[in-house]
Symmetry: C2
Subunit: 139 residues, 2 copies
DNA sequence: TCTCAAACGCAACGATGTTGCATTTATTTA
DNA sequence: TAAATAAATGCAACATCGTTGCGTTTGAGA
């Protein structure tokens, strides 16, 4: 089963029409592998409507297909969700890592689950953005 | 020693002129207590130039007086730095917490230092954004 | 008070977010 | 396969914020 069919099936399970832009965007993101900058998505599309792309990304996030990563400089990255995410919500355990050398952003697992406690506060969720050197750049 | 004098002294230690806007902005942020949304800064100023405010916030960050917090929706918050921060750089150990009830964002200390390790990666820095209920809203 | 680097204020441009609405289309159903 | 329709698109329109250049103003030390 090729990627195109897989993408269309994924959209169907989330009750979304398989429109051209949605399929294209998902193919681009899947092909990119790591987290993709918003700009990179735009650059990879030939003809597209900015507003439609905006709504496309939003609904893909809403349905648990993508998640968005906001960087410190307010740049946005997008990445595929894992199987645990669905229309009901997102369930991410991983952290986001930005390599200072190659500037790639990726979703990575930690060696140990992160323990986080704050006095008097009830923590329901948290996300971690780490920076440093990725495996390739560290060599 | 009143706040105004303190602000001017702080600016002096960082080799910055004590201009009206800088003093006003710092007074606003100090008065707000918790992390302040960018909009709130604008709303608290009567007459101001947008570009000057932009450069003001940037240089206050650059000199280790403020730090910026980028929220998931790309909204920016600003908060005072701690004493460890200087012109040489920022040294933050704390995490950022957003209360889902009152929507306040604040800098808080964790009960235990956070341990973070990722296979094959070298982590030089990381930041944590937690959500949940703050002490006041939890009661 | 004088001096001048620093900071300001404005123009100008660009990127992205967001909503409304008329038109088009993907998918279901007859 | 054609019809029906909810969903999605495309465009206008508006807003916020980021960013740079440049001539003018000003804070702070001499
Ligand atoms: Mn991720
Ligand atoms: Mn902080
Ligand atoms: Zn790298
Ligand atoms: Zn609260």
């Amino acid at each position: 089963m090729n990627q195109l069919v897989e993408i269309k099936e994924l959209l169907k399970t989330r009750k979304l029409k398989a429109t051209d832009l949605r399929v294209e965007v998902l193919a681009i993101i899947l092909g990119f592998g790591k987290a993709i900058p918003y700009q990179e998505i735009q650059n990879s599309l030939q003809n597209f409507d900015r507003i439609t792309l905006y709504r496309t990304l939003n609904i893909l996030i809403e349905r648990g297909i993508l998640h968005k990563i906001s960087m410190e400089n307010n740049q946005s990255f997008y990445a595929m969700c894992t199987l645990e995410c669905s229309t009901m919500g997102h369930q991410h355990q991983h952290v986001h890592f930005k390599c200072e050398q190659c500037n790639e952003v990726s979703c990575v697992e930690t060696k140990e689950p992160i323990q986080l406690a704050i006095a008097y506060h009830l923590i329901t969720d948290f996300e971690v953005m780490a920076t440093g050197l990725c495996g390739a750049c560290r060599l």
